[in-house]
């Protein structure tokens, strides 16, 4: 397999190398196959525990901080630190578990997070359109799925009815215009 084909991360609609290593809630790291630099993507529990220490390190040494949320994690717990975070990732244990879509909507529209928002776990091509609509801009396509082929699904629909992170006005307000 060539280098480019092994990339599983889509960011801003392009395949890129992944720099983050997911740290589990019990502290064990599981490095993604194409992890390069090994930045630590922390579970919410560890972030909450080490928050002040990590923020101090960021201020002193400019470290990059990433936090991931499980479907049951409350995104409001990150609300006051959003500007300090370089990455928020939302875990999808199964693609049919749709809680992460609400998590993303809240992070973007209620708490105003503007940084990288990543979906990871059981993430595939047929979920990308909805994931992008609620505000994900980074997608770690699960192993064994063709990430390059998935890129075209962002354009599945040219028109949508609802307002969401990607479209501030519902169709009925744009229709009227």
């Amino acid at each position: 397999m060539s280098e480019i084909n092994s990339l599983q991360l889509i960011r801003d609609r392009r395949l890129v190398a992944d720099e983050w290593e997911v740290v589990q809630s019990d502290g064990v790291s599981s490095a993604p196959t194409d992890a390069a630099a090994g930045l630590s993507l922390l579970p919410l529990s560890i972030w909450l525990e080490r928050r002040s220490e990590l923020l101090a390190e960021k201020a002193a040494a400019g470290i990059r901080i990433g936090v991931w949320l499980a479907p049951t994690d409350e995104p409001s717990l990150l609300a006051k630190d959003l500007a300090m975070l370089d990455l928020i990732a939302v875990h999808f244990p199964k693609f049919a578990d749709g809680r992460g879509y609400s998590t993303a909507s809240l992070l973007r529209l209620r708490y105003g997070y503007t940084g990288e928002l990543r979906a990871f776990g059981d993430v595939g091509r047929d979920q990308l359109f909805y994931l992008a609509r609620v505000g994900f801009d980074s997608f770690l396509i699960s192993e064994g799925r063709d990430a390059a082929a998935a890129l075209c699904s962002f354009d599945d629909f040219s028109e949508v009815y609802q307002s969401a992170t990607d479209q501030s006005l519902p169709l009925f307000r744009r229709r009227a215009a």
Binding site: G98, R99, S102, R110, F157, Y161, A164
Partner: protein
């Protein structure tokens, strides 16, 4: 009725292309069965007992004659020449091939139809009253709101992977003919003291294995906030609804666990953030949609047509049909007509391609080219001149859709059951046929009067058996098919879940038991007392005693023949 503009067309056509690609990838083995399942379900495609089943959406039960002809064409071309109308006002076809599904969706898109979200754990078809727009008791027309909700729920990105399916119904009357109290969200149109239109909001109703009546969480929601409020309900449910157990995943379980007050409080908290967002409805949008449901060009007609009256006097069969199948209209000289899909000997709710084509023609001739599907699985022509009733009746007889039994015992709601459905524990169609055959005396049926009898082939309760005067539920006992009976259920705003009378019965005993329950009712009822009221007044015991008495119908017959 609502016509698509270029945006609606673009969205539905994009869906056809998307599903064609997904099907092709599945066939090439690039999408596993597990990955493909939710995708095909959200396009209404099930894998059933014999073949795939495709459920076509009929938003709020309204069809143009053009759409009805297309449905006839689809059943003829891709299926076996018939379809099954469901309690959620949709149409199911039972024998399409998996490969033909994209072509069927393309045929539907051409006539502004689709199968979007007719299954899967997402927001399903929005249903309403089949007499919407013409009923004398209507507070406001529910159809524009149902269409607005259809658009909002179509491909809502946040709510495509809910814990479980989600059903919304809208009623424009106090009495409620849309079963709103057994929906995940039930919306009742109301006008407040200041003359403003709004909704009373109910949540957490549903049938299935845990039947529950919806709870009111808001008395008056001003119309502008319809979508943001629904968004708040859905978000609370999406985040908190159980996902660990399929049978406990509906919103009703969450509402029950939290209590409706606490659930309502959480919704209001969530809504405080969403209220007045751009999703707040505008006068312009409501007018744009409502205009498309404006009244047809009614003629000024006398209240009573003399020729009609004399036909009523001359022809007893016609008079009987008028009594049961013709309904009062708010416009003088007009009526609504129910074309029965419960003709004895034919599966309840089924229509053939020829019947669909014929109904389309009748709609063009007599009812402004529109047809409605009722949740009781019949078809309705909603704007028929009184003076046309006789001709319409004769035409309906030719196509075997003139059974004069609407609202009577044999006007049963019946799911497809074990003959078709892979979820079913037992067959429902042979039970329905046996009851139809037993109660084939029209005089007796009319004498019994209004009485609903519904049959579900399993706990999923697609046949709404809980809400019937007499409900029959197919159960599995060590691999054999048995039938549990409930009595005293009602639909409407006083919806009530029927009570189980006792141990279940073998299939061959069901008609006898029904006969005994009815005999008890006839013996005990007060003047004009509905069945459910009699059950409520005298309790289960008299019915139980009779139903489980030894003298079965069969034994009586044998005794006679000796």
């Amino acid at each position: 009725m609502y016509r698509y503009d270029r945006h609606d067309h673009a969205i539905v056509q994009a869906r056809v292309a998307q599903f064609r690609d997904q099907s092709a990838r599945h066939q090439r083995g690039e999408l596993s069965d597990d990955e493909f399942r939710p995708l095909r379900l959200q396009n209404g495609l099930y894998i059933q007992r014999h073949a795939p089943m495709l459920r076509v959406a009929i938003p709020y039960g309204m069809l143009s004659s053009t759409q009805m002809r297309r449905l006839a064409h689809i059943t003829r071309t891709y299926d076996r020449g018939y379809g099954h109308f469901t309690t959620r006002q949709n149409l199911q076809i039972n024998w399409p091939t998996l490969e033909s599904a994209p072509d069927i969706l393309a045929e539907l898109a051409e006539v502004e139809m689709h199968a979007i979200q007719t299954s899967g754990n997402c927001i399903r078809n929005i249903t309403t009253d089949h007499f919407a727009g013409m009923a004398a008791d209507e507070i406001a027309d529910p159809r524009p709101w149902a269409e607005i909700l259809r658009q909002w729920s179509t491909f809502h990105p946040e709510f495509a992977y809910l814990p479980r399916k989600f059903k919304i119904a809208v009623s424009g009357t106090k009495q409620d003919r849309a079963a709103i109290l057994v929906h995940d969200i039930g919306l009742q149109l109301v006008i407040n003291e200041s003359g403003e239109t709004g909704f009373t909001v109910f949540v957490g109703g549903g049938l299935g294995r845990t039947p529950l009546i919806g709870k009111k969480i808001r008395d008056f929601l001003p119309w502008q906030h319809l979508l943001t409020y629904c968004e708040a309900i859905l978000r609370v449910y999406n985040r908190l609804g159980r996902r660990d157990n399929l049978y406990k995943a509906r919103i009703k379980i969450l509402v029950k666990a939290l209590g409706s007050e606490e659930f309502g409080r959480q919704v209001e908290n969530e809504w405080a953030h969403l209220k007045d967002s751009p999703t707040t409805l505008t006068e312009a949008e409501v007018t744009r949609v409502a205009t498309q449901f404006s009244a047809p060009d009614y003629a000024a007609l006398p209240t009573m047509d003399a020729a009609h009256n004399s036909k009523l006097a001359e022809d007893k069969a016609f008079a009987r049909w008028v009594q049961r199948n013709v309904h009062t209209h708010r416009i003088a000289g007009y009526t609504a007509v129910t074309l029965s899909l419960k003709t004895p000997g034919l599966p309840p709710g089924d229509a053939t391609d020829a019947q669909m084509d014929a109904v389309a023609d009748l709609a063009d001739t007599y009812s402004f080219g529109e047809i409605r599907v009722s949740h009781e699985q019949n078809l309705v022509l909603a704007d028929v001149r009184q003076s046309d009733l006789y001709a319409l009746w004769q035409a309906a007889r030719v196509i075997r859709m003139a059974s004069p039994t609407i609202g009577l015992l044999t006007d049963m709601i019946v799911c497809p059951g074990g003959d078709f459905c892979s979820l079913a524990n037992a067959k429902s169609l042979p039970i329905a046929a046996a009851i139809q055959a037993r109660f084939d005396e029209l005089d007796y049926l009319h004498d019994i009067g209004d009485l609903s009898l519904n049959i579900s082939g399993c706990m999923n309760s697609c046949g709404h058996h809980h809400l019937a005067g007499i409900g029959i539920l197919g159960v599995d006992k060590n691999g054999a098919e048995w039938y549990q009976i409930t009595i005293g259920g009602r639909q409407g705003i006083a919806a009530h879940i029927g009570d189980v009378i006792g141990k279940s019965f073998a299939a061959q005993d069901v008609p006898d038991v029904i006969e005994k329950l009815i005999a008890t009712y006839i013996a005990e009822r007060l003047e004009a007392e509905p069945f459910a009221d009699t059950v409520q007044r005298i309790g289960l015991q008299p019915f139980r005693d009779r139903a489980y008495s030894k003298s079965t119908h069969k034994a009586e017959l044998e005794a006679e023949s000796v």
